[in-house]
């Protein structure tokens, strides 16, 4: 990326971004961001993934404008039940005479909500456990890592199932259960990064300046762990969506009449043979969205963590 001189000298904004002598920290940061973006856009699949994720965001944001019908209120049960896809009902209607297209549109909000909340809960836990274990070391490290291993030992869906079974079905409990099962890999990664950083000279310098352990961890170790963690969390989002959908499918996630995609597939199961669209459409939505997150994660890994990409 660096080194080779470009054949055509960049001008204007690009020249400013790619300047080898940035005049401010701000310019250097933006320049790095731009370089990362260039690497990212070289991978068409990653751009495609980003497109899907952006589409999901837009659809969730403008669900009210995009959905022609109500996601929860059904139509006339005598005439509008289980209709096949048509110009009026793009994805057909379900057993409650509700428009499946509108439900899928509104369902994007639930999916996004789950993904956001799980990452907001699980990432800080993993980050804290991993950095503390890696930086403090000794018996703290042993205890925290044993704990992490125990949670890693359970298959994710099964552990989430057991938690939801205990807490009671519902979207909030499903989110808590998925978050509880998500943090261990983040802790592992954060610890590995911390072990590499711990003995660097700049940490020694900060220590000599008299910084306390919490200050070093929060101010100097955590920021350096974040980029590899972002990659991992993005790659994990597809898994979070699939686990949430699986819980919904088993009736343990969002409760009716919420338009949760997994629960919608479960409804469609009863009409599978003759009214295939009831199960097919929401399932397709789950597939497309998790594919998008997987592609985006792959692309981000190439940019932020080139070592792991090979």
């Amino acid at each position: 990326m660096t080194g080779a001189a470009p054949l055509v000298q960049p001008t204007g904004l690009r020249a400013w971004l790619l300047s080898p002598e940035p005049a401010s920290r701000w310019q250097a940061r933006l320049g790095r961001l731009y370089l990362g973006w260039r690497t990212f856009t070289k991978n068409p699949l990653a751009v495609f993934g980003l497109g899907i994720v952006l589409l999901l965001l837009l659809v969730a944001l403008f669900a009210g404008f995009l959905a022609p019908y109500s996601p929860v209120a059904g139509g006339d049960l005598r005439t509008l039940r289980l209709l096949p896809p048509s110009a009026e009902h793009w994805f057909g209607t379900d057993d409650q005479a509700r428009d499946i297209y509108s439900r899928v549109i509104y369902g994007s909000r639930i999916t996004l909500w789950v993904v956001l909340l799980v990452s907001v809960i699980a990432t800080p836990i993993g980050l804290l456990v991993g950095t503390v274990a890696g930086y403090v070391g000794g018996w703290v490290d042993t205890v925290l890592m044993r704990l992490t291993d125990i949670f890693l030992a359970f298959p994710r869906l099964v552990l989430a199932l057991a938690f939801v079974a205990a807490l009671g079905p519902g979207i909030e409990n499903a989110i808590i259960a998925i978050a509880i099962t998500s943090w261990p890999p983040y802790a592992r990664i954060a610890r590995a990064e911390t072990l590499m950083i711990r003995n660097s000279d700049f940490i020694a310098a900060v220590k000599l300046q008299g910084a306390s352990t919490p200050r070093i961890i929060m101010g100097h170790v955590v920021p350096l762990c974040i980029s590899s963690l972002i990659v991992r969390v993005t790659l994990d989002m597809a898994g979070i969506i699939l686990t949430a959908a699986g819980l919904g499918f088993l009736g343990l996630g969002a409760q009716p009449p919420m338009p949760e995609w997994g629960a919608m597939v479960a409804t469609g199961r009863n009409y599978l043979i003759d009214q295939w669209w009831v199960a097919a459409m929401p399932g397709l939505a789950i597939f497309v969205v998790s594919l998008g997150f997987n592609l985006l994660g792959d692309g981000l890994r190439d940019v932020l963590d080139p070592k792991a990409a090979k």
Binding site: R146, L161, A162
Partner: protein
């Protein structure tokens, strides 16, 4: 003489190393299993339902409530309760299932062979197709087949297993009629053999009931292929990366310079070396299929551990749920550690 002593001391060293590893292995296994029991104990305690009220009802007088509470051991300190729970769990006593009224362990022993059958077939299918695909993708890097393997893997990582199962059922069972539908065996065949191992395919074959055997094959085909696909996605991706690693080594160049055929270089030399880490991958994918079976069994009405857990869940049968969770967790841990041990045994570099 000198040679003899050398090998002897080498053997002694290897033995000591092996014993040390085994002790370490058992220690890790013990702490992890203890942790698993602690987690299920904890989950059992956060259930918002009061187990005493569940038994005596909410209109029971206070002294009855107190007596039942004492009988259940709920008045003891938490740590003592855990100790009792642990002792029971080690002896395989997870209490009785509310749903079937049997001890949970008996139920699990009954349903486990079905899961084992499905997961084993899935892993076999995944390995038989996934390894050659991964090798081809590595050898012809960047070619059409490499792209194909990549896409296959991406879909495998992104598709919800329960949805794919339903769609497969719709296509291959309802529309095309290629395979039998949900269940393990048609009712007409279910009394034609005596269950011995609990694995229908083996039982029917051993007893010469060929009709029943083929019926069972037709039933198991779809769920096994479905699980096989998920393990294929993982195995082919890992095989590709291991093979790329091996093909860049110098011994491959040496083998080519010696004039060995490309076939021999790839399948005999490179794959042989790649097979050591592959064993770990296959064991891991086997463990993952135990998890994947929870949703697959629900869809295919497969009477295994996964269906047992989900059925119990829907009936708030916590003893059964936690027992099943613990068994799957333990199987997961043991498979992981065994694969680790195998890797150490097979790869001379780790000694």
């Amino acid at each position: 003489m000198a040679v003899a002593t050398l090998t002897q001391s080498g053997g002694h060293h290897a033995l000591r190393f092996f014993l040390l590893r085994t002790t370490q292995f058992i220690a890790v296994l013990a702490t992890t299993l203890l942790g698993l029991v602690a987690v299920t104990f904890f989950i059992g305690r956060i259930v918002p339902i009061d187990p005493v009220i569940a038994i005596v009802g909410d209109r029971a007088p206070a002294h009855v409530y107190a007596r039942v509470r004492q009988e259940l051991g709920l008045d003891l300190p938490m740590i003592q309760q855990f100790w009792i729970y642990l002792k029971k769990a080690i002896s395989g006593d997870f209490g009785n299932s509310v749903l079937t009224t049997n001890p949970v362990m008996t139920d699990i022993i009954n349903v486990f062979p079905a899961t084992l059958e499905l997961a084993t077939l899935g892993t076999i299918i995944g390995a038989l197709i996934g390894i050659p695909l991964g090798v081809l993708a590595a050898v012809k890097r960047g070619s059409l087949i490499d792209q194909f393997v990549r896409v296959l893997g991406l879909i495998g990582y992104s598709v919800p297993i329960f949805w794919l199962g339903l769609m497969a059922l719709l296509l291959f069972y309802a529309k095309l009629g290629w395979v039998e539908g949900p269940g393990r065996l048609d009712v007409t065949y279910s009394y034609m053999y005596t269950p011995v191992t609990g694995i229908v395919l083996i039982d029917t074959l051993m007893q010469g009931q060929m009709d029943a055997f083929w019926n069972a094959v037709s039933h198991v085909m779809l769920p096994a292929c479905l699980l096989g696909y998920f393990s294929l996605a993982y195995i082919s991706r890992m095989t590709r990366s291991f093979m790329l690693n091996e093909l860049a080594q110098e011994y491959v160049i040496a083998a080519r310079v010696k004039g060995l055929s490309e076939f021999r270089v790839i399948w005999r030399h490179a794959l042989r070396n790649a097979s050591v880490p592959l064993i770990t991958v296959i064991a891991l994918s086997y463990a993952n299929l135990l998890e994947g079976s929870v949703l697959t069994e629900t869809i295919f009405a497969w009477p295994g551990l996964g269906q047992y857990i989900t059925n119990s869940l829907q009936n708030a049968d916590m003893n059964a749920v936690l027992g099943g969770t613990l068994v799957i967790g333990a199987a997961f841990v043991i498979l992981n550690l065994v694969s680790d041990l195998l890797y150490r045994l097979l790869d001379p570099r780790t000694r």
